[in-house]
Amino acid sequence: MAKTAQQLEVGTEVPTFVDDPLTLTEFVRYQGASGDMNPIHHDTEFAQRSGYPTPFAVGMRQAGILANVVTAWLGAENIRRFKVQFREQAWPGDVLTYEGRVANLREEGGQPLADLELAVTRQTGGVHLLGWATFALPS
C-alpha cells in the first residue's frame, strides 16, 4: 500500500502499466461516466468530417488511468495535485504504456511530499500525455 518517505528515493519508478489496445467501447464507457459526449471520440462520420481518419481517444480517460496507476501505488487519499498535458492523439488499436518516477522528495510544514513525473506513451514511442503528481506521504 502507500509508501512512506523512507521507502522512496528520487528515481524510484512507478510500477508500469501496459493497457490493452484502445477500443471505441472503452472511449464510450468513459464518455458516459464523465458526461463529455463529444462525438469526435465515437462517431466515425463526424470525425472524418472534422478531418480525422477515425475517432480518437478521450485524453481525459487516459489522464484518469494515469492518476489511478499512481494512486494505486501511493494511496488514493494521499494525492494532493495531479496535472496532465495533452500531446499527440491516441487512436483505436493503440497500446499505451503508463509509467513514471519520483522526481523530488521534500517537506512542507512537516508533511513529507513526493513529486512525480509521469508519461503515457504509444507503441510508436510517441508521447500521448505528460503528467505530474504530488503525494502526501505517511510518516
Binding site: G32, A33, G35, G64, A76, R81, F82
Partner: protein, 147 residues
C-alpha cells in the same frame, strides 16, 4: 481570445459526490483500487471532478455568451489540486468556475496560439476549499483538424 474575458464567472452550482458515480468513474478509468469501491467513505478518483459536467447548466459556465470557434480549440492541460485529498462519496460540494487568465504564444509552425486558463473551485458545506480543477484551452489560428 483576448483578455476581456478574464474574471468572467459562472453561476455557482451544486455537485454531490455520488457513490454509484464514483464506482462508474473508477471502472471507466480502469481502477481496481478498493479505496474507490469500499463501503465506508469510498474516495473519488483524482480526475473524478470532470463529471461535474452532469451538474452544470450553460449559466454555470464562465464561457456563456463568449463565441467560440470549436474547430480551433484544443484541451491543452488539466490539473486538479486537493488540499486534503480527493473528496469521498457523500460530500456535497458547491462549485464556481472562473476564467483566470489569457495569454498568447507564437506557435512552432507559425501563427499565434491563445491560451486560456479556467478554474473551478469546489467547497464543502462549511466553505472549506476541497478541490480546484484547472483547465487550459488553446485556440490556434488555423483549424486543428485536417493536417
Amino acid at each position: 481570445m483576448d483578455d476581456s474575458i478574464v474574471g468572467r464567472t459562472g453561476k455557482p452550482f451544486r455537485m454531490v459526490v455520488e457513490e454509484g458515480k464514483v464506482h462508474e468513474f473508477a471502472r471507466a478509468t480502469k481502477s481496481k483500487d478498493p479505496a474507490h469501491y469500499r463501503e465506508k467513505d469510498p474516495v473519488s478518483p483524482a480526475t473524478f471532478l470532470q463529471a461535474a459536467a452532469f451538474w452544470q447548466n450553460p449559466d454555470n459556465s464562465p464561457w456563456q455568451g463568449v463565441s467560440l470557434n470549436f474547430e480551433r480549440i484544443l484541451h491543452g492541460e488539466q490539473e486538479f489540486v486537493f488540499p486534503d485529498g480527493p473528496p469521498v462519496a457523500g460530500t456535497e460540494l458547491t462549485a464556481v468556475a472562473r476564467i483566470d487568465k489569457v495569454y498568447q504564444k507564437e506557435g512552432k509552425r507559425g501563427g499565434t496560439m491563445s491560451f486560456t486558463e479556467a478554474v473551478t473551485e469546489f467547497r464543502d458545506k462549511s466553505g472549506k476549499l476541497v478541490a480546484e480543477s484547472w483547465g487550459t484551452s488553446i485556440e490556434t489560428s488555423k483549424p486543428t483538424g485536417a493536417g
